[in-house]
């Protein structure tokens, strides 16, 4: 699904990180690194929005920079940390936005669209919220709806840029368990940047570690924490 070859990513003069070869097919992958190590830049590079790098990025065998926004929207969906919406949308309105890449000029919602929305809302157990106003939800509930919207987009790759940044401890725990469940049940590849390490060994199939200007994939789940802490110099 995602392939990186001989990648070196920079921001201006500053080299952020490099990776020789990385292939990811599916599962829940945590993206871990200190502030400024390049987590968001990594996500933007995969989206084809950060051009300052050398090497090859392939999403589903294609170079994201050569794809149109519409083609990309059917391969990759995104969740950012702060959910904001302009207008008094209901939860169903927000979820339905995920079907946009498949709709005609008039964005009519088809029966097939509603089927996908129902399916994903069922997975997240938020079907009862359809008629609720998005703006009155709590931060945790909003983020759950935004994840639902990304799932409704029905892409093989989901990128999440610190989706738990504004969530409380309980919501973070529940989100972590949920993402693992989604990855297992849908066979999608989820890459989720996070600073929360207490659940990585239980809920992640792999960890992408950004440290010392290098991007490494850890796969031995029993040693995730030890390796991460060692690379950060904390014990």
């Amino acid at each position: 699904m995602l392939e990186l070859k001989d990648i070196t990513v920079a921001v201006g003069e500053r080299r952020l990180f490099a990776v020789k070869s990385l292939v990811l097919q599916k599962g829940m992958i945590a993206l871990v690194g200190r502030n400024g190590s390049g987590k968001s830049t990594f996500i933007r590079t995969i989206l084809g929005e950060h051009a300052d790098f050398s090497g090859t990025v392939l999403v589903d065998g294609k170079n994201p920079e050569s794809l149109s926004a519409l083609q990309k929207s059917r391969l990759v969906s995104v969740v950012y940390s702060r959910p904001r919406i302009f207008g008094n949308h209901t939860v169903l309105d927000v979820l339905a936005l995920g079907r946009l890449p498949y709709q005609n000029l008039f964005s009519k919602i088809s029966a097939a669209d509603l089927h996908v929305i129902d399916q994903m809302a069922g997975l997240l157990k938020i079907k009862d919220w359809y008629a609720k106003s998005f703006n009155v939800l709590s931060d945790g509930e909003k983020q759950l709806v935004m994840i639902g919207r990304a799932l409704v987009q029905d892409t093989p790759l989901l990128l999440m840029d610190e989706p738990a940044a504004f969530l409380d401890v309980v919501n973070r725990f529940e989100l972590s368990v949920l993402l693992k469940k989604i990855a297992d049940e849908t066979g999608k590849l989820i890459i989720c940047s996070t600073h929360q390490l207490d659940r990585v060994e239980k809920d992640c199939d792999g960890v992408l570690l950004l440290a010392d200007e290098e991007l490494k994939l850890l796969t031995d789940s029993s040693n995730f924490l030890k390796t991460i802490n060692a690379s950060f110099g904390i014990s």
Binding site: A69, K72, S73, N88, H89, T90, L97, P101, L105, I109
Partner: protein, 334 residues
Amino acid sequence: MKIKADILLLLAGLLLITLLFGLNLLIGDVHIPWSDITTLLSGGEVEQKTWSYIVESRLNRSVAAVFSGAALAVAGIILQVYFRNPLAGPGVLGITSGASLGVAFVILGGAGAASIAGGIGIIAAGIIGAMAVLALLMFVSRFVHNPVTLLVLGLMFGYFTSAIINVLFLWANLDDTREYVLWGLGSFEGISTENLIVLVSVIGLFLLMAVFLIKPLNALVLGSEYASSLGVNLKTTKLLVISITGVLAAVVTVYCGPISFIGVAVPQLVRILWTSKNHTVQIPAVIILGAILALLSDITVRLSGNSLPLNTVTALIGAPVIIYTIIKLNKRLA
């Protein structure tokens, strides 16, 4: 999704437009019976020859009101979603001021609106002025994230352009100055049939072009990052926003003067009245409500014996809506 109620509301709106349109043909100092009006409209002749001019003038201002109201309201909803700002609109953001500046250069420069070169020049100058302000706003909005700050900036553009216009007055002769001041009060009155044809066809064309913004606007409520990930080409969208809102606001301003408040108030009212968030419903809704408000304003102006300026009437309707929005906005931000 209560699609049926939304469609019923659209139909009711169309009906109301027809009624108001008829009313605007009927009322006036000269009483003309409805049967004579229909005879004249279908190309026949009536005993009183002068009535045909009166009906033509009433018809022209009604058509101008419908299309101008629709144009300003569509420009308003596009700007509000694009800048994610419920207070945005062609008037408050200074876009009509930009168009006014263009018009001022042409009128005060001595080329009257009546001459052909002046006519084309005014439209071109108005569109250039409007688009220049839009481009500047889009540049500035990268650094400004507070909705009220953007609004204040727009108002400052407005003050700045009127200051420049006041300086232009120094060189203009009395007749040109008078023509400009009258135009600046805003009115649907006195538009010639030739100019009306230009207004209707340009506005009609650019309202149709708004179809291409339906999907981008639906996605942009989540912000530009999310919109891009939903397959929206941000560059094309920006160009469409600049050209559609710029031309719509400029054409209305050139022919009817800088008309305030309709562009900001109508999208707010549509958000309250219509449930669907799809712009396939919202754009027709603002077109209809914009036309209704413009017709209502024009009828009020005419009932006052043409003594109330159009902008006074639109302010009476529009300003309360904006105050309500600011209060609501502050509740949400607090």
